[in-house]
Symmetry: C2
Subunit: 392 residues, 2 copies
């Protein structure tokens, strides 16, 4: 749909945009322009004159438009881990009488680590209760203070029903946090329609903001001003440049800001978001399903050694397809050596992301052809491909 | 000393490197190279092949070299506010029987806000005790769990005696945290020699890393592995890519990492740090004192309306000089209009940073000449100069 707007190395089929999106062609020019003409010429005046100080909310509204969040309800900054902490701390304070945080074992580990770190710090008898993803709905009861889930499973692509689970949890008196790491830019999301109190996510996957692009947090506007931020940094203060000794939270979503925004990263992200102008998420979704279905059908036909690890029902999947194979790590390395880039997640998951902005039917067919060749000829079965690196 | 390595707009005298350092000439090329040749060509493989994953410690060691921290004791990431939170949470756990955090009223507000946010969250009866900067030493007693100070006062430039206060606090059984925001790259610091447990700081001031450059945290190596991180993000895990459900802190300083590092910002910062190769902090300090003393002498001679707000003793000052004047805000605006860039901090402080890497005697003399002209002719006394903007 927009392939010409991305830098994809010649010959590479990039099926890993669910981990790190590719470089938007316009991004480097924009960053250089920002560095020379804003930082270089304006220096400290850039905070006002180039709008740096306002960007965490202004650019976040562009992300908000892709997840059904009204303007002024989303802010960029920090990392997803930090945003988990902010959201969960706030959610617990909204529901102080209850002690259970319900999540699932398919959640991305950092969400669970940050939750445990917070619970250990506050030490007030909370329990982080983890169930199998399929059992979440059943596990919602009147003990649950907070339901905290990642919508799309990072390994299998299995997608929770956001609206149904939010309603059930809220009916039971829980506050709801959605991690949209694998949703934003991948599937249609309607935060306002869902009624959920919080959402968090990252911008370096399907939004192509670049390595280390800032995270986002959405807070339902009617509750934003009830929040006493746990991470009460100066840029979340109502008047940061008054330099009061006492913290006074800023209006609405502004209070979820913490420290100085990463202005260089924001320039890259802002340019990456230009690509979404005029793109309907429904179209992206339809095309993603088409590509994913084709990939599954072709792989199952031509690579019988692999077993589908993602839901077969397209409506229950995000924008990735995973196959299980015991030597999946080696297969992924063999694919990368042939310029088909997917990735591996322990214990045996081979992940392939389908991002219609820059992946088309020819890419899918060519990727399966190479995968078939690797499986048929066992070219993955070498010590070099089997030796694990630190990051995959 | 290195003026030719920075982009300073023609005619501008930039005395605000204590707020945001100027653009290093090589930084934009490096960032573009990183974007095209690392992100663009390697995509996800950049995490290993371009060393992105290791950069938060590798580049931090270059900062460490400027603050007397041994290799492997410092890590980059997040913002200074977040690093305050990490350090204080860890420090309190190292001293659980005591309840007082001692700081001073000259500390930068975000340090105090973050501390209050943490204390409110953990709710265990701690007290954040604030005294006047001159009274800190006397206020150290055996109630103090943590002494948390910013070495150089952001308004006045007044500098605490790090070694003496650290020793006194530790002798009284306290854990010590130093905020080096206005120290790193400005004055010689010897973290290892001081014996302090923690230091934190930012890299966008005297280290010229660019707007939103990541913060750093130093942990004294012998205590690093006693820390159970409050912000227990996946990149602080011992093996992030094993995706365990349980958090297991990484070795030493690695556990103070949280989320995905800001790789684009790190490229700019790494280039900015090249400028320090072969520069001795003692030389920078000597030159900074020379420039500051000249500025004070000339201003006091030629602008009798202004009163020195910084310590007169050069050894008790950082690398900035502040003057008090009730209409200081308007004077700063009038100076900026003449391309002499300082800044203003409430209620009446005009700040001027002296960064010998790119400021010389001619700059100082010319700045005073323009200041004298503005004061003599009261050109600051217009509504336009008096109208305050959101960020100054």
């Amino acid at each position: 749909m927009k392939k010409d707007q991305f830098t994809i190395p010649k010959g590479m089929i990039y099926l890993d945009g669910n981990s790190l999106g590719p470089l938007p062609k316009a991004a480097a020019d924009r960053v250089v322009d920002m560095m020379h003409n804003e930082w270089g010429k304006l220096l400290i005046k850039g905070w006002n004159q180039a709008g740096w100080m306002a960007q965490p909310v202004a650019i976040a509204d562009r992300v908000g438009a892709l997840i059904g969040a009204p303007p002024g309800s989303t802010v960029l900054g920090d990392t997803l881990s930090i945003k988990v902490y902010q959201a969960l701390a706030a959610a617990l304070n909204l529901n102080p009488a209850r002690k259970v945080i319900l999540s699932d074992k398919g959640n991305f580990p950092t969400d669970l680590y940050m939750a445990n770190g917070l619970l250990h710090s506050i030490d007030r008898g909370h329990e982080l209760r983890l169930v199998e993803p399929a059992d979440v709905s059943e596990a919602i009861n009147e003990d649950v203070a907070v339901l905290m889930l990642t919508q799309v499973d990072y390994r299998t692509g299995r997608m929770h029903d956001m609206n149904a689970l939010t309603k059930k949890a809220q009916d039971a008196g829980a506050v709801v946090i959605w991690d949209l790491a694998h949703s934003a830019g991948a599937v249609p999301v309607d935060m306002a329609g869902s009624g959920a109190e919080f959402a968090i996510g990252c911008t370096y996957k399907y939004l192509n903001g670049g390595p280390g692009a800032p995270a986002f947090i959405y807070v339902r506007p009617d509750i934003a001003e009830q929040i006493q931020p746990a991470l009460s940094g100066w840029l979340g203060h109502d008047a940061p440049f008054e330099f009061d000794l006492d913290y006074r939270p800023g209006a609405g979503i502004e209070r979820m800001r913490v420290g100085t925004p990463p202005v260089i990263q924001l320039a890259a992200l802002d340019t990456a978001l230009d690509i979404w102008d005029g793109v309907a998420m429904a179209d992206v979704r339809a095309r993603s399903i088409e590509l994913s279905e084709l990939f599954i059908a072709e792989v199952e036909k031509r690579c019988p050694q692999l077993s589908l690890a993602s839901p077969r029902d397209a409506q229950a999947r995000g924008s990735q397809v995973s196959f299980g194979f015991d030597d999946g790590y080696a297969v992924i390395q063999a694919l990368i050596a042939r310029d088909v880039v997917g990735d591996f997640r322990a214990p045996n998951i081979m992940r392939f992301g389908f991002t219609p902005l820059y992946i088309d039917v020819d890419d899918v067919l060519r990727a399966v052809e190479i995968l078939e060749d690797i499986m048929t000829n066992r070219t993955w079965d070498t010590p070099a491909f089997k030796q694990k690196a630190a990051v995959t």
